[in-house]
Subunit: 474 residues, 3 copies
């Protein structure tokens, strides 16, 4: 065996010994709290089937992780060489040992990145790997992981319990029948694993195959969608269905968080043109902006928390999308604007105590300029945690430093891990808890908090803010 | 009595013991310097009347403070419950004890915010409160404050002296008769309390009641404003009047700092259309952009320092504005652009040594990208301090870290407190002084300054830069 | 002699003693490595002539340095008073002693700026100045420098060797005959001093004197440029010529990094209209956007690394430009956008392993939002170091903190000094090395790297990343 692999107990903490020691004490007080994961992309099938398995280390750690794929790709490793399946079924590398070796040979690329951090914590803390992952140890670690993954302690459900996850929310198409969630509900896992209503494919009139999605929505809702009104009714029916299956929230992804109010007649006209084909880009945007307000209206009525994830230019590289499909690491952020775009929505519903609207951003410039001021004024608005590229040590530190002074801590929505990578969930929550505790320790050191306040806030950050924002009860 | 309430003597300082000790020494050297407050919104009536009183603790700390109102409102406390008067006179909470209790019950919301910091410093250092402000102590502290506020040591003038304020500049409508400043001047307070010329209501052709403001301007200037030329002349007359009453500066608020030069004929045409009603938004913007250049021209001629505060989308929530009016915490920033927008103005007057143009921003992205480069080139340009949401420990630190490397310290305009909350003035200036001293200590630690330089720069930051930029003499 | 002038051996390092000590050890390991300077503006004539001299201290330190000129100008020192030559030959200050004194009198303006830092390091480490530079010491230091500059150890070539520069790339017009580089190549300095192909003057159809530049391109390439195709051919011929003279890269400056693909017919039509005069601004932009893609295509074919420096609004002050010309400190950044603008180019060539595209920015908001995500995905994209105003202690720290978590270290292009000021080269590289080592020490302290990794990464930052990105061999 080569070099031992050890995680520093002080990781993520400030170098100053006094701050570090305060950070550590605060962290100890929240380290073992249950995990609340109110937004993410774990496949519920993994948990619905008690016998589900993660597959090989490559299936688990590489193929589904767009953070890993993008970095390797950026340095000349083709997705074929990583075994990513092609849409046309043309063959790709099938030898998982060789893919694993390739990953190990390039693992130095992840130095100083959250992916590197999460992976180290997963391998060491979840799987018990003891030697440093590199070209030399790759095959031994592969063998070891294959063995671990075959044990009963490493099924998804076993890990779910070991991770002490109180609630995990998945993200599900508005047209889903939620068959996995129904199984989970029957087996008394319904409060642990909850769906989230995501209607992008039916709301965005430009979605490839939009008409097919509408037909599916007709089928699952039992409403024949021949008009805008029927469309709205079908969405309401499905929201109610999701709610019965445990959902407490919806989610929408848009490039620009544009909102606008259309008249019923305008909405109907655009919707009819969409049904017949031949819609303009401007109509698509208007309809999307209008549906943001409609979704807020429905949330006011049914109490589902509304989430908006704006600002990702999806599938920036046509060639990757055509060959491999979405979520391959080729999504690139664009600048965002909330103050003007959300004005129509907030002016109508932002003051309504029944609405909770959680805003995310990939454009950090909006933290101090727009998001913190909006959250620090509108009763409906809460700020989602640093998202995607910003879910990192520096990203979280910048977020806290930039939003709390204006929005306060209590207008934040706590933490989301937003992950597809199930075994990385504890690593991500622990990183957030470490960084928030270190930030609180910094405030104590600067005379801005006393310790009693800091211990409360550490718990708020770790779990309570998320539970409250997402209405996950006590 | 419950928990004692103490301010850390090391507050705002870095955790590192060496930096902290340097910061403290630097701070001691500037702590007692007189306060120069060249921009803010204190009501001059408070100081003109030697018998003026602040009213109850609610009148003093809650009702006029939009930072406090916005945070409480964001967490579901209605403005009615805080006693904020409605425009239509419909009744609101009148029991100040109950409002005060409500505030105390929600005081935890201000953890880690500048409002929380300022309030603690005011209660402890200005009023001598000794127990921590919370639900339990609220009524005792209320009684204590009522008693203090009835003492002669707590009149506005008494506090002005105790605060060691050398100069306080107020912000006054261009149509003001400056009656309070005239009283102050008679009583030899003219150098201590100075007006600032703010012509927004007459320059922005879209101001509600613009025509009435123009009539007022005619009345106070003695010039019948029937033409653009008469309008310009009236502004010049009023500027001269403000200058005689002690003004050294003007101030303008705009959403976008757009500048453009119109011909006399174009200006006259737009102005005539405005007088007759029926102006377009584009004409409003052109006229506003043109008047920025005209205001610069007048500053070149009469020597008044020109301030621009751009980028606030005022009254984002119609319902709040209609019920309570402006300045209720519902103003939200938008992104700003200076390089292209100010080009016409700077190209014409930016090189003129007679102009001082102080630029503010709510969009921190402009610090390194536009403002520091502009201030580091144009002789006329100085950078205003971090404004509004950014007047905070992190906000000031970011500002210094981002602008000084490019603009140098000597292109900054020192500190403004920009406050309506008179008793918070020392807390705000002390926070600025602490953060600048800590930043200087950091530069010493990094070998970038020697101590002699740092002591000079600490004094520059505390007072001298503001006096120089605002031409407040020695 | 007055105060001694000493540089702290710990300069640029964090105050925390443990981090500082790690930073210092890392720095010692890279301090003496050769300097690789793959992008800058040193005049090759200085090195081609073995007898070249730098002139007076004013010629060396003040006149050619737009950082120095801009700061002095911003505080009321006219460029005439600094001896900057006028375009019309009208007289300016000729007494270098007096200019030097003026500089010394204003040297306090540079406190806390990189210019102040570089200058101190040059005077102390390159020239051996021992007393602090100020009004009092100015004339003694002037005498001392005049004496030093007359010594054989202070010719450009002698300093080049003493600075241990492995490679210095200059920036040269596409129409250059590279006469200095040809001399250098003959004298075996060809690998040490390399040209860079900069075609802005012929690609930007709005360049003053564009037609004259085209005629020059015809002359040097031997191709009569009467058509778009001939233009492309002439560029290819010149690229090949530059490559033979040692070039490994091209460089383009644009305000907006817009890219668009035109058909051959559209390109030809625009080019013909340009030859005949009477082109529109929109055509200029289209052609420029198209030529970005053409330059990428040529790079794919000939292997020259492509650099883009966008976002500078050049010559913001007409009066300065008319009287003194460009590069006087009057260039101001504007906001930048890469995700949408580069989409056509990257979609076509971003996945091609033959292309290296190095992106720079003056808009730091693009670091986390666009540049790091692009570099962390596209095999062709590398991120240039912090540029111009951002080549500073805080600028470098922000860059590393913001890009590495998403792009990783290995998608960075190492360091550029980008300087015209030859004797500042070591100071700039040492500052970069100090800040990168301090940043690595911070990662060790936070448990994110082990020391073995950090020592490797320190070498990567110091030299290896630049050599690899710019294909400068081993």
């Amino acid at each position: 065996m080569s070099e031992p692999w050890i995680l520093s107990p002080e990781r993520c903490f400030d170098p100053d010994p006094s701050q570090r020691s305060l950070a550590r004490e605060l962290y100890i007080s929240v380290e073992e709290l249950p995990i609340v994961s109110p937004h993410g992309h774990v496949d519920p099938a993994l948990l619905a089937d008690p016998n589900a398995r993660f597959g090989s280390p490559v299936d688990l750690f590489i193929k589904p992780d767009h953070y890993i794929l993008r970095m390797l790709y950026s340095q000349g490793v083709n997705l074929e060489e990583l075994g990513v399946p092609t849409r046309d079924g043309s063959p790709v590398e099938a030898d998982h040992r060789q893919i694993w070796q390739r990953f190990a040979d390039h693992f130095y690329l992840f130095r100083g990145t959250p992916s590197g951090y999460w992976l180290a914590e997963e391998l060491i803390n979840v799987f018990g790997v003891k030697e440093k992952f590199n070209s030399d140890s790759a095959q031994r670690i592969f063998d070891y992981l294959v063995d671990q993954l075959s044990q009963p302690e490493f099924t998804p459900r076993a890990l779910f319990k070991r991770f002490n996850i109180a609630t995990l929310c998945t993200t599900d198409s508005a047209t889903s029948t939620l068959e996995h969630h129904r199984i989970l509900q029957k087996e008394n896992w319904g409060k642990r694993v909850r769906p989230t209503f995501r209607p992008d494919a039916v709301i965005n009139l430009q979605t490839p195959g939009w008409r097919k999605h509408i037909d599916q929505l007709s089928a699952v809702s039992g409403i024949d969608i021949t008009s805008y009104h029927a469309f709205i009714r079908a969405l309401e029916v499905q929201r109610a269905f999701f709610k019965r299956q445990g959902a407490t929230a919806t989610d929408q992804a848009v490039i620009i968080p544009y909102t606008v109010e259309l008249s019923d007649r305008e909405s109907e006209e655009i919707f009819q043109r969409a049904l017949q084909g031949g819609i303009t880009s401007e109509e698509v945007n208007c309809f999307s902006g209008h549906m943001m307000i409609e979704m807020a209206r429905m949330s006011v009525e049914d109490g589902l928390v509304m989430q908006i994830h704006p600002g990702s230019y999806r599938n920036h590289t046509d060639a990757i999308y055509q060959r491999f499909g979405p979520d391959m690491g080729a999504d690139i952020p664009v600048s965002a604007e909330f103050t003007r775009n959300l004005h129509p929505l907030l002016n109508k519903f932002g003051n309504d105590p029944r609405l909770t609207l959680i805003l995310f951003t990939l454009d950090e410039t909006t933290y101090t300029r727009e998001l913190a001021p909006l959250a620090g004024h509108y009763p409906a608005v809460r700020l989602g945690p640093p998202w995607w590229f910003h879910d990192s040590i520096n990203g979280i530190q910048r977020y806290l430093d930039q939003v709390v002074e204006t929005a306060g801590l209590y207008n934040l929505a706590g933490f989301n891990d937003d992950t597809r990578a199930f075994p990385s969930i504890p690593a991500r929550h622990h990183l957030w808890r470490r960084v928030t505790c270190n930030w609180l320790a910094g405030l104590i050191m600067r005379g801005l908090l006393d310790e009693v306040e800091a211990y409360e806030m550490a718990k708020d950050c770790a779990m309570r803010l998320a539970k409250r924002a997402y209405k996950l009860g006590d």
